[in-house]
C-alpha cells in the first residue's frame, strides 16, 4: 500500500461529510471518521518499520521547475505527530458529533476539520520543503475557516482574521526561509536538507534563514510576541480549540523546530532566539492564565505557556532537552485536549464558561469533574500523571545549560516560577469550577453530557494515567525513534521512570506545587494587584491597528489618485518628458548629414499661419468658435504641407477628415456649456506652459535630428513591387490595400467600432438644449434656408461623381476608398445641414449599421477570397483585360477591398450623424411655426 494514502485518505475525506450529511448526524460522523481511521490504520501498519529505525519515503515528480515534488516521508518524528493528529482527530470527530447544536451545519464543520487534519498530515509528512509549506498554509486557511465557523459572531470573524493575519504572515516568512534554505542547500528535498547542517550553519544567509523560519514557527505556535492571536481563536467551537489549539496546529511550529533541529540548532543564535522566546512565552502564558475568568481563556494561556516550555526545551539545545520536548508534546496534547473537551462539556451543559459563575459543579457532573481534575492535575505536573514526567525532565534540563554564563541560574528559577503559576491556575481550574460554593446565574442547570461525548475525554485521561505510570512501556519506543529523527541518529541515554530519587528537579517540583497552592490561596491579593493594570483586549488593539492601517492606506491612495484627469495627464507627460530627457542629453549633434531643403516664402508663410493659428487656438480655447476656426486653419495648412512634401493622398485625407471633425465639434459645441470659466490658477498655467514647452521642444528637436539624417528603409521594395506585384502605380494606395492591407482592415474596424460605440453613447443621452447662443440671443428661426437647400441638392450628384472618381482612380493616382468615402459622407452631411435629419431619414432609409458591417465584411471576405487559390489572407489579385471598343482595363481584388473601406467610412460617418440627429427634439421655434 502506498504511503500516499495516509495523506490522500484524509484529503478525500474532506468531501465525505459534504456527501454524507443527508444521512443524518450520526451517520455523517461515522462516515467522516472512516477515512481518517483508515489512514491511522495505515500509519499503524507502517509503525513497526519506523520503530525499527527505518525512514520510509516515496516521491512523485510534480513541478520540476519549481522544485516541487510530491514526496512523503515517514520517520519517527512524523510517526509521533501522525499518531497525535489522526488519533486525537478521531476522538474530536466523536466529540463534535455531540457538541454541535442542530443549527450548526455538521457537514461544513467536519469538512473544515478533515481538511485541517489532512493539511496537518501533509505538513508533518512532507519530504519536500515546498510541499511542507503548501500544507502549512493550508492549516492556516482551514483553521481560519474553523475559527470563523460561527461566522455570524463578530468575535469569531475578528478572531479568525487575526489568526489568519498572524499565521499568514508567519507562513510567508516561512516560505522565504525555506526558499533561502533551499537556495543554500541547492535542493528542496528534506532528506538532502537534513544532511546539510554544516553547509547551512556556515552560510552567510543562515541568520536570515533561521529568523524567517522561526517567524513561521513562532507565529504558528503562539510564541511571544505573537501569542495574542491564540486566545482570540477561542471564539471557535470547543472541538476546534481542543484539536487545533492544543493538540495539533499550534504544535506545527514545534514540529518545524524539531524537524529542522538537526540542521539549524547548535548555534548561539538558535539558543538565544528559540530559548529566550520559549522562556518568555512560558512565563507570560502561565502568569496571565491565572487571571483569566473564562475557562477557555485560562486553557488558551496555559497552552501558550506550555508551548513556550517546549520551545524553551528545544532552545536549550541539548539532546535530552529535545527528548523532553517531544515527550511533552505528547503529554500536553493528551491533557490539554481532554481539558478543552471538559471545558466544552461544561460550557455545553451549563451555558457558561465564566469561572466567576461556575461553582460547585462537582455535584452536577461528578464524572466529568473527575476526568477534568485528573487532566488538570497532569497539567499541574502532579506525580503519577504524564505531565509530571516531562516537567521533571524539563526542570532537570534547565539546570544543565551554561549559555547565559553567570546568569544561567536564572533559567531554572524562572522555570520553577512558571511551574508555580501552572500549579496555581490548574488548582483554580479544579477548585473554582467544581467546588467553591454554588453556581451563580447559570443559563441552564448543569448536568452530565451524553454518554458518548465523554468517551474521548475518558480515552485521553486514561492515556494521561497510562503514560504517567508506565511511560517506558507505553511511549518509550515511539519517543526513542522520534528523538532519533530529531537528533539525527544518536539518542542519549535517558530514563523514563516515575522515580529518579531525591534530586534538584524533584525539589523544584515540590517548590512549584507548594508555591502554586500558596499563590492560589492568596489569589485575592494577586487579582487586586492585577486589576490595577488596564485590560487590553488584543482583538480591539489589533482591529484598531488594522483600521488605522486601512485608513492610512485609504488616505495615501486618495491623495495619489484624486480623480483628476489633469493630474493624470500631467504625470503621463512628465513621465514621457523624463524618459526623453536622458537620451536627448546623449545626442551630441542635433543636425545630421543630410543636405537640407531651401526655404521659400510660401513655406515661411505656411509656417507662420500654422504657428499663429495653433497659438491662437491655445490662447483662445475658451472662445470656442474662434478656437475652432483657428484649428481649421491648422488643419488646412497641415494638409497643404502634406501636399507640398509629395503626399497628395495625405492632403486629401487630412482635408476630408478635417471638415468632418469640425462638423462633429460643432455638433458637440451645441450641447456643451457655452462659457468656459477661467479657473486655472496662474501657477498651474505656468507649470503647464513649462511642461508643454519642454515636451514640445523635445519633440521638435527629435524631429529635426531625425529628418536631417539619411535613411535606408524597406520602402524601395514597395516602389519596385507596386506595379508588378500590386497592380497599381499609386504606391501609397497599394501599400494600404495590399502590402499592408491588414493595417487597413484594422483601421476600418476601428472606425466601424467607434461608430457603434458612439451610437451606444448617444442612445442613452439626455441633453439640455440651449435656447439661444452664447450671447443669449435666441436661435434664428429659419431652419433650412431655401437657397442652401436648392444648391445642396444640385451639388449632391456632382459630389458623388467626384467621390466615384476619387474611388476609381485611387489605385493609380491620388485617391482611394477612404477619401471617396469621406467625400460621399461630406456630401450627405451637407444634405443633413441643408434639410435636417428628419427630412433625410424619411427619404433615405439606409441602415448605417448594416452598411458598416457589410463594408468591413466585404474587405474581410476579399481577404479570405485568396484562400480559395491557396494564398494567404489578403493576397491580392489583379489582371488587365481587353474588350473590343472599350479598350484595356484593369480589375483588381484591391478594388473590392477598397469598396469595403468606402462603405465602412460612409456607414460610420453617417451612423454618427444620424444618431446625433436624434438628440434634438422637433419642438424648437421655427419659421414655419411663427407664421
Amino acid at each position: 500500500m502506498s504511503l500516499f494514502w495516509i495523506l490522500l485518505l484524509p484529503l478525500i475525506g474532506t468531501l465525505v461529510p459534504l456527501l454524507s450529511a443527508r444521512f443524518g448526524r450520526s451517520a455523517c460522523a461515522w462516515f467522516t471518521a472512516l477515512l481518517p481511521a483508515l489512514s491511522l490504520f495505515l500509519v499503524l501498519q507502517a509503525m513497526p518499520a519506523v520503530l525499527r529505525g527505518e525512514t520510509l519515503s516515496q516521491t512523485f515528480s510534480w513541478i520540476p521547475a519549481l522544485g516541487l515534488e510530491l514526496s512523503f516521508r515517514l520517520d519517527g518524528l512524523v510517526l509521533l505527530f501522525l499518531l497525535l493528529i489522526l488519533g486525537i482527530g478521531l476522538l474530536i470527530i466523536l466529540y463534535a458529533r455531540y457538541y454541535l447544536s442542530p443549527q450548526d451545519s455538521m457537514a461544513r464543520f467536519y469538512a473544515y476539520l478533515i481538511l485541517f487534519m489532512a493539511s496537518m498530515v501533509g505538513v508533518v509528512s512532507a519530504n519536500n520543503l515546498l510541499q511542507l509549506w503548501i500544507f502549512w498554509e493550508l492549516t492556516s486557511i482551514s483553521s481560519f475557516l474553523l475559527i470563523c465557523f460561527w461566522h455570524h459572531q463578530s468575535e469569531a470573524r475578528k478572531g479568525a482574521r487575526m489568526a489568519l493575519t498572524v499565521t499568514g504572515a508567519g507562513g510567508l516568512a516561512l516560505l522565504a526561509g525555506l526558499l533561502l534554505i533551499a537556495d543554500i542547500v541547492g535542493s528542496y528535498d528534506l532528506g538532502v536538507v537534513l544532511a546539510s547542517g554544516d553547509t547551512l550553519r556556515e552560510a552567510p544567509a543562515y541568520p536570515v534563514a533561521l529568523i524567517l523560519l522561526l517567524l513561521g514557527a513562532f507565529t504558528k505556535s503562539a510564541q511571544f510576541p505573537f501569542h495574542f492571536w491564540l486566545p482570540q481563536a477561542m471564539a471557535a467551537p470547543t472541538p476546534v480549540s481542543a484539536y487545533l489549539h492544543s493538540a495539533t496546529m499550534v504544535k506545527a511550529g514545534i514540529f518545524l523546530l524539531a524537524r529542522f533541529y538537526p540542521v539549524l540548532s547548535g548555534t548561539e543564535l538558535w539558543f538565544l532566539s528559540v530559548g529566550l522566546t520559549g522562556l518568555a512565552t512560558l512565563l507570560l502564558g502561565a502568569y496571565i492564565a491565572l487571571f483569566k475568568h473564562d475557562l477557555k481563556g485560562l486553557l488558551a494561556y496555559s497552552t501558550i505557556s506550555h508551548l513556550g516550555l517546549i520551545t524553551l526545551l528545544l532552545g536549550l539545545d541539548t539532546e535530552l532537552a529535545a527528548v523532553a520536548a517531544l515527550f511533552h508534546v505528547i503529554n500536553h496534547a493528551t491533557f490539554k485536549a481532554s481539558l478543552f473537551m471538559a471545558a466544552g462539556i461544561i460550557d455545553h451543559e451549563s451555558g457558561s464558561r465564566d469561572m466567576r459563575k461556575l461553582n460547585g459543579l462537582w455535584h452536577y457532573m461528578p464524572h466529568t469533574a473527575t476526568l477534568a481534575m485528573v487532566a488538570a492535575a497532569s497539567m499541574a505536573g502532579i506525580p503519577l500523571l504524564n505531565g509530571f514526567l516531562s516537567k521533571e525532565m524539563f526542570f532537570a534540563e534547565t539546570l544543565h545549560q551554561e549559555t547565559l554564563g553567570s546568569l544561567s541560574w536564572m533559567i531554572p528559577v524562572l522555570a520553577t516560577l512558571a511551574g508555580v503559576f501552572a500549579v496555581a491556575y490548574s488548582t483554580r481550574f479544579i477548585h473554582d469550577v467544581f467546588f467553591n460554593g454554588e453556581p451563580i446565574d447559570l443559563p441552564k442547570t448543569p448536568h452530565e453530557p451524553p454518554r458518548y461525548m465523554k468517551i474521548p475525554v475518558e480515552v485521553l485521561v486514561t492515556l494521561c494515567l497510562l503514560l504517567g505510570i508506565f511511560p517506558g512501556f507505553t511511549v518509550g519506543g515511539l519517543l526513542a525513534c522520534a528523538s532519533a529523527a530529531v537528533l539525527g541518529g544518536g539518542v542519549p541515554a535517558y530514563n523514563l521512570s516515575i522515580w529518579h530519587g531525591f534530586n534538584l528537579p524533584l525539589l523544584m517540583s515540590i517548590v512549584a506545587m507548594a508555591g502554586g497552592l500558596l499563590v492560589y490561596y492568596n489569589r485575592r491579593h494577586l487579582f487586586q494587584f492585577q486589576a490595577q493594570f488596564p485590560q487590553t483586549d488584543a482583538k480591539q488593539v489589533f482591529e484598531q491597528i488594522m483600521q488605522q492601517l486601512v485608513g492610512w492606506a485609504r488616505s495615501a491612495h486618495d491623495r495619489l489618485e484624486n480623480g483628476s484627469l489633469q493630474r493624470y495627464m500631467f504625470l503621463l507627460l512628465l513621465f514621457a518628458l523624463v524618459l526623453l530627457a536622458a537620451p536627448l542629453m546623449d545626442l551630441n549633434a542635433t543636425a545630421g548629414q543630410r543636405p537640407n531643403l531651401p526655404v521659400n516664402a510660401v513655406e515661411i508663410t505656411a509656417a507662420l499661419l500654422l504657428c499663429l493659428s495653433a497659438l491662437a487656438t491655445m490662447v483662445w480655447h475658451r472662445k470656442r468658435m474662434i478656437a475652432l476656426l483657428t484649428l481649421s486653419v491648422v488643419g488646412l495648412i497641415v494638409s497643404i504641407t502634406f501636399a507640398r512634401f509629395s503626399a497628395p493622398d495625405l492632403a486629401l485625407t487630412q482635408l476630408a477628415v478635417e471638415v468632418v471633425t469640425m462638423i462633429l465639434l460643432l455638433l458637440a459645441l451645441f450641447f456643451l456649456p457655452q462659457k468656459t470659466p477661467k479657473e486655472s490658477p496662474p501657477r498651474r498655467v505656468v507649470r503647464d506652459l513649462g511642461i508643454a514647452a519642454m515636451l514640445g521642444g523635445f519633440i521638435g528637436t527629435i524631429n529635426y535630428a531625425l529628418i536631417t539624417r539619411p535613411l535606408h528603409s524597406i520602402s524601395d521594395f514597395f516602389l519596385a513591387n507596386s506595379k508588378s506585384g500590386g497592380g497599381g502605380s499609386n504606391v501609397v494606395n497599394v501599400i494600404l490595400v495590399d502590402f499592408r492591407g491588414f493595417d487597413t482592415l484594422g483601421e476600418i474596424t476601428v472606425l466601424g467600432v467607434a461608430a457603434l460605440g458612439i451610437y451606444k453613447l448617444i442612445v442613452r443621452m439626455r441633453l439640455y438644449l440651449p435656447a439661444g447662443d452664447e450671447s443669449g440671443r435666441a436661435w434664428a428661426r429659419d431652419r433650412h434656408p431655401m437657397m442652401l437647400a436648392v444648391i445642396s441638392q444640385s451639388l449632391l450628384p456632382l459630389a458623388l461623381l467626384v467621390s466615384a472618381y476619387i474611388f476609381l482612380r485611387g489605385h493609380n493616382l491620388p485617391g482611394g476608398g477612404f477619401i471617396a468615402g469621406l467625400v460621399t459622407s461630406v456630401a450627405l452631411i451637407q444634405q443633413y445641414v441643408a434639410h435636417g435629419v428628419d427630412w433625410i431619414k424619411g427619404r433615405l432609409n439606409i441602415n448605417y449599421q448594416w452598411l458598416i458591417a457589410s463594408g468591413v465584411l466585404i474587405a474581410t471576405l476579399t481577404g479570405m477570397g485568396s484562400w480559395i487559390f491557396g494564398h494567404p489572407f489578403l493576397s491580392s489579385w489583379f489582371d488587365h483585360f481587353h474588350l473590343p471598343w472599350i479598350g484595356e482595363f484593369e480589375l483588381a481584388s484591391a478594388m473590392l477591398f477598397d469598396l469595403g473601406v468606402y462603405l465602412t467610412v460612409v456607414g460610420a460617418t453617417l451612423l454618427i450623424l444620424a444618431s446625433l440627429g436624434t438628440l434634438t427634439t422637433n419642438h424648437r421655434p421655427t419659421l414655419a411655426e411663427s407664421e
Partner: protein
C-alpha cells in the same frame, strides 16, 4: 515652351494673383462686415478663374491632351460662393453685426432679420 503660351499663362496668372490679393485686401481693409463680404466673394471667383484657366492651358500643353478638369473647380466655386455669402449675410443679420453708420436704408435691417417684407411695402404687387 512656346513663348506666347508662356506669356498668356503668365498674364492669366498675374491677373489671378492680383484679384485674389484684392479679395483679401478687401477682406482686411473694408470697414464693416457687409462690405467685406463683397470682396472675396467676387474677387476670388475671377482670380481663381484666371489661375485655373492658366493651369488648363499649361497642362493641356504639357500633357498634349486638352485638360479641362480645372473647369470643375470653377464650376464649384461659382455655384457655392453665392450660397456661402448668403449664409454669412444671414448669420450677420441674425447676429446683429454692426453695419457702417452711413449705410443707406438701415431701417430695412429689422425686417430683413425677421425675413419679413420691408415695412410699408404691402402695397407692392
Amino acid at each position: 515652351m512656346n513663348v506666347w503660351l508662356e506669356v498668356v499663362v503668365s498674364i492669366l496668372l498675374l491677373i489671378g494673383g492680383f484679384f485674389v490679393l484684392v479679395g483679401s485686401i478687401g477682406l482686411a481693409r473694408l470697414p464693416d462686415f457687409y462690405t467685406r463680404l463683397h470682396s472675396p466673394t467676387k474677387a476670388t471667383t475671377l482670380g481663381m478663374g484666371a489661375i485655373l484657366i492658366a493651369s488648363m492651358i499649361l497642362m493641356s500643353h504639357e500633357q498634349g491632351v486638352l485638360s479641362l478638369h480645372e473647369l470643375l473647380i470653377t464650376l464649384f466655386l461659382l455655384i457655392t460662393a453665392p450660397v456661402t455669402a448668403h449664409m454669412l449675410a444671414k448669420t450677420a443679420l441674425h447676429q446683429e453685426a454692426h453695419p457702417l453708420e452711413r449705410t443707406r436704408s438701415l431701417q430695412l435691417l429689422p425686417s430683413a432679420r425677421e425675413q419679413q417684407p420691408p415695412a410699408g411695402a404691402d402695397s407692392h404687387d
